[in-house]
Symmetry: C2
Subunit: 153 residues, 2 copies
């Protein structure tokens, strides 16, 4: 049930996910900077202006992105995310990226949080996730607002 | 002439700098996504919501950040930036980061654009720049607004 199609990718970033060795250690680091986050599913989310910075185990991020954590592709443990408002936009965005020269590393797949995600790399190997997460709000300007995850982790 | 001091780092990101092999190739990639940027000083800036994504030669970024581009530290060619409103905040922010466990890779230095910058790495090696750029506007929420660089590159 496609409502519309897109021919380009909105010029924005929704999440910056830092792949980390030890989530607790990294959370402690960012909290020592004065930041306050919320932990859910062994992942820490920091609302940072109109986007979110996410701490997640590097091996899980690499696996999720379909990228070898320590292999020749030198996964850097960082991923940028572009969240879309509707699942209908998803395939078009991926198609635009692939036409632009992106390498798809993880085709579209449903996620444990009831969403939909896929990953590609840009020509230098920088990792982008395209995601639809029905629990995250995107404002009119594409700014992402995290939900209240219910409890401080 | 310090006007105030800070004891924590605001919870936000101002720039995402992607270290790239070939700026023109990377710009073409992002433009093929439908993005429009401005080029100045062999650097491409894309306004992306309340932050900017920057394409810059990886070797220059590594050198600027005081990080070995291809060595044991495995520089990933990506840096997050935290821009401050006044140079007076700068040293305090760096001090907070170092106390939190950051490793300073490039001490505070003046920049060619009339600003001030330094870099640190977090415990996993993720690269952060702290910068004061008098030409970039930060809104009340810390959102960064690029200036008009004067000409499309």
């Amino acid at each position: 049930m496609r409502r519309f199609s897109v021919s380009s990718v909105e010029q924005r970033v929704s999440l910056i996910t830092l792949g980390v060795e030890d989530v607790a250690r990294s959370r402690a680091f960012y909290e020592a900077l004065g930041w306050r986050g919320q932990e859910t599913e062994e992942t820490v989310f920091f609302q940072a202006g109109a986007l979110a910075i996410v701490l997640w185990a590097c091996d899980k991020l690499a696996a999720d992105a379909g990228i070898d954590d320590a292999g020749v592709e030198r996964f850097a443990g960082i991923a940028l995310a572009h969240n879309v408002r509707q699942q209908a936009e998803f395939d078009d965005i991926i198609a635009v990226a692939v036409r632009a020269g992106a390498t798809l590393t993880a085709p579209a797949h449903t996620t444990f949080y009831g969403g939909y995600a896929g990953y590609f790399r840009d020509p230098d190997g920088h990792v982008w996730e395209v995601a639809h997460n029905p629990g995250f709000t995107l404002d009119d300007h594409g700014g992402l607002q995290l939900p209240d995850f219910g409890a401080e982790g």
